[in-house]
């Protein structure tokens, strides 16, 4: 039972990171119907920005190193996400889906290998002491402060996102565009700006996830974004693509399931388990846990 609880704790902190990445996928998919393959790489860039801030600047060594790294990485990733959208995706708004998808893959490879060219392919680790690596025990379950912070920051960011989407004018525009692009345009909503704003939000969350992964697992490399990117997409599909609460639930579930499989002897089959779940979900309930089904029109 203790082991099970321990796995749940580990799974939740892993899962909240997946959830942060999955939110970007689900928002972008909801609004432009694009699997943004470059999203995992934005997360990777976020991790590297955080690394640079904590290692090379004076902020990084102060008490506010973590906050500084988090905020700067989020801003950098938001700018990057909007630039990518403007340069690579916007001209293809009316092209076939496959053309946009190939472009997204191109952007993803470009980010990976350009960064690799400059920083090398090796792994790097954050300087020690950005966050306290102490831990405390509750009923035999070891909980690290880092895990608590990862979960708390994720929850805070998700609440913030939910507030932006539900309560602000820009969020209302986002929901309108994802519901019906043409109708939204007729109502005077600037669709291009709304799409850019969606990329901005998603990329900022991915940047935050990158910094937290860098601190929590303490190892970053230029190709780190691929697998978590795919898994976060699985999480988004699992929760119901296009649904923000779905992405959160999906991310947490995938994280917990993955940790449980790994914890109970299947560590080699961890990735396979995630994809098997994906295929099962797609076959049984293709709209995911919280997705709405839309009938096909003739």
């Amino acid at each position: 039972m203790e082991k099970f609880a321990q796995q749940i704790v580990n799974g939740l902190s892993q899962g909240s990171i997946y959830a942060l990445i999955a939110l970007g996928y689900t928002m972008v998919y909801g609004i432009v119907k694009l699997i943004n393959f470059a999203h995992g790489d934005i997360y990777m860039i976020g991790a590297y920005v955080g690394f640079a801030v904590t290692t090379f600047t004076r902020f990084g060594h102060s008490r506010f190193g973590f906050i500084a790294a988090l905020v700067i990485a989020m801003v950098a990733c938001a700018v990057l996400g909007v630039c990518i959208e403007r340069i690579a995706y916007k001209p293809l708004r009316n092209s076939s889906r496959i053309a946009v998808l190939i472009t997204a893959i191109g952007v993803s490879l470009f980010l990976d290998y350009t960064l690799m060219y400059f920083v090398g392919a090796g792994t790097r680790s954050y300087p020690p002491g950005v966050l306290s690596d102490r831990s405390f025990t509750v009923g035999g379950v070891v909980i690290k402060y880092q895990q608590v912070i990862v979960v708390l920051v994720s929850i805070a960011l998700m609440i913030l996102l939910q507030f932006i989407v539900k309560k602000t004018k820009q969020g209302k525009a986002m929901r309108a565009v994802s519901f019906d692009k043409e109708a939204a345009q007729l109502m005077g909503i600037n669709v291009d700006r709304t799409i850019s704003f969606t990329f901005l939000l998603g990329s900022a969350l991915a940047g935050a996830a990158g910094v937290m992964v860098g601190i929590y697992f303490n190892s970053i490399d230029p190709l780190m974004g691929m697998m978590p990117g795919l898994k976060a997409f699985v999480a988004a599909v699992f929760g119901g693509i296009g649904s923000i609460p779905g992405a959160m639930v999906g991310g947490l579930s995938i994280g917990v399931i993955e940790t449980l499989v790994a914890g109970y002897g299947g560590s080699l089959y961890r990735d396979a388990a995630v994809f098997a779940i994906l295929i099962l979900v797609l076959i049984i309930k293709p709209t995911g846990l919280m997705g709405k089904s839309t009938g096909s029109k003739v």
């Binding site: 998919y29 119907k33 699997i35 690579a88 001209p91 293809l92 092209s95 076939s96 889906r97 496959i98 053309a99 946009v100 998808l101 190939i102 472009t103 893959i105 191109g106 952007v107 993803s108 490879l109 470009f110 990976d112 290998y113 350009t114 690799m116 060219y117 691929m226 795919l230 997409f233 699985v234 599909v237 080699l268 089959y269 990735d271 396979a272 994809f275 098997a276 994906l278 295929i279 797609l282 076959i283 293709p286 096909s296 003739v298």
Partner: protein, 344 residues
């Protein structure tokens, strides 16, 4: 116009001028490469490039049947390729002879086809991106399972010390793949597949059993992906699970899209061009640009490749050939010439 074609042009069975020309061109291509090999102009590096071109052509043409002609977006071709590669390598490991190689190729293709059918039935109900993700997941599962089996050598992969797939075999298998898929696409079944790509609901209401034809295309595509994988394994000695990752599926898809979805000759041309390009970058020494700075292509090849992808999609999203074939270009020209003559 009006006058019936005579003699060979009208065709007796397969014996038409067109088929004769195609046969002669194929024979000439083979003869030229064979002659160059005897003259010693093709060294090992060039030959491995040729082998890679053949494998890529097989993979691209088979994926084109699924994605280009039937319109089913698959990101899992590397999984089928892995099945073929490992089956062939294991069989050749036990029987390192030519019959063993042929049995291995066939077994690999058939195994990939069985998997294609098994996976196709449930997943081909999905549409568009969902299907892409499901096939991607399928390929990843295949890779992880291979990585954890004993018979496949786990993460370190399989080694063999004898290359069974010589150039004539590579050429033969490539020619067979193109021939079979080309004929399938032009048959009534192939037309049914194209109808499904154009509009699935309309095709169904015309009495086409869409599931049947989708699974059929998927199975044939998987079979030839297995063949391609088998050739890859037999030519390059070493296969590792990491070879057949997500990136391999992407590479094949890129070849198909670059050549044009729904154009077999487009796939052949783009497989040749892209393989030559990547190989050139990998082996090219650093190039000095006007004495200003040096470009080390082997370090930037992936960056150039990525930029190329983005630029091609921005400026020519239909790919090189669109849905036309090489033959159509000649046809149109001849037709133009004739219509010009008539005007004069």
């Amino acid at each position: 116009m009006g006058s019936k074609k005579k003699g060979l042009a009208r065709g007796v069975g397969v014996l038409t001028w067109k088929n004769l020309v195609i046969f002669l061109v194929t024979l000439a291509a083979f003869a030229i490469v064979q002659a160059l090999r005897y003259l010693g102009w093709i060294n090992d590096v060039y030959e491995s490039t040729l082998a890679l071109i053949c494998v890529n052509i097989i993979l691209a043409v088979s994926l084109n049947l699924i994605t280009g002609f039937t319109g089913q977006f698959s990101l899992g071709h590397a999984g089928f390729m892995a099945l073929g590669a490992y089956t062939c390598a294991i069989v050749v490991g036990y029987y390192p002879t030519v019959p063993g190689f042929l049995i291995g190729m066939l077994a690999g293709g058939v195994l990939a086809m069985i998997f294609g059918i098994l996976i196709g039935f449930p997943t081909l109900r999905l549409k568009g991106d969902y299907l892409a993700i499901a096939t991607l997941g399928m390929a990843e599962i295949i890779r992880v399972v291979i990585q954890n089996m004993n018979i496949t050598g786990g993460a370190s992969g399989l080694f063999s010390n004898k290359s069974m797939a010589t150039w004539p075999w590579l050429f033969l298998f490539t020619a067979i793949t193109i021939l079979v898929i080309n004929n399938f696409v032009k048959s009534s079944r192939g037309r049914a597949c194209i109808a499904i790509r154009e509009d699935e609901i309309a095709a169904e209401s015309m009495g086409i059993n869409s599931t049947k034809y989708k699974v059929m295309a998927f199975a044939i595509g998987a079979f030839f992906a297995g063949i391609g994988g088998g050739l890859y394994a037999s030519y390059f000695f070493v296969i590792k699970p990491t070879t057949f990752s997500f990136l391999m599926s992407i590479n094949i898809l890129v070849i198909v899209v670059f050549g044009g979805l729904g154009s077999i000759s487009g796939s052949v041309i783009s497989a040749t061009l892209l393989t030559l390009l990547t190989n050139f970058f990998t082996i090219s020494p650093p190039v000095n640009v006007f004495g200003l700075f040096t470009i080390d292509f082997s370090r930037v090849n992936m960056i150039i490749y990525a930029l190329l992808l983005i630029i091609i999609m921005l400026f020519r999203p239909k790919g090189l050939m669109g849905t036309t074939e090489i033959g159509d270009l000649f046809k149109r020209q001849r037709w133009r010439r004739k219509s010009q003559e008539r005007v004069e």
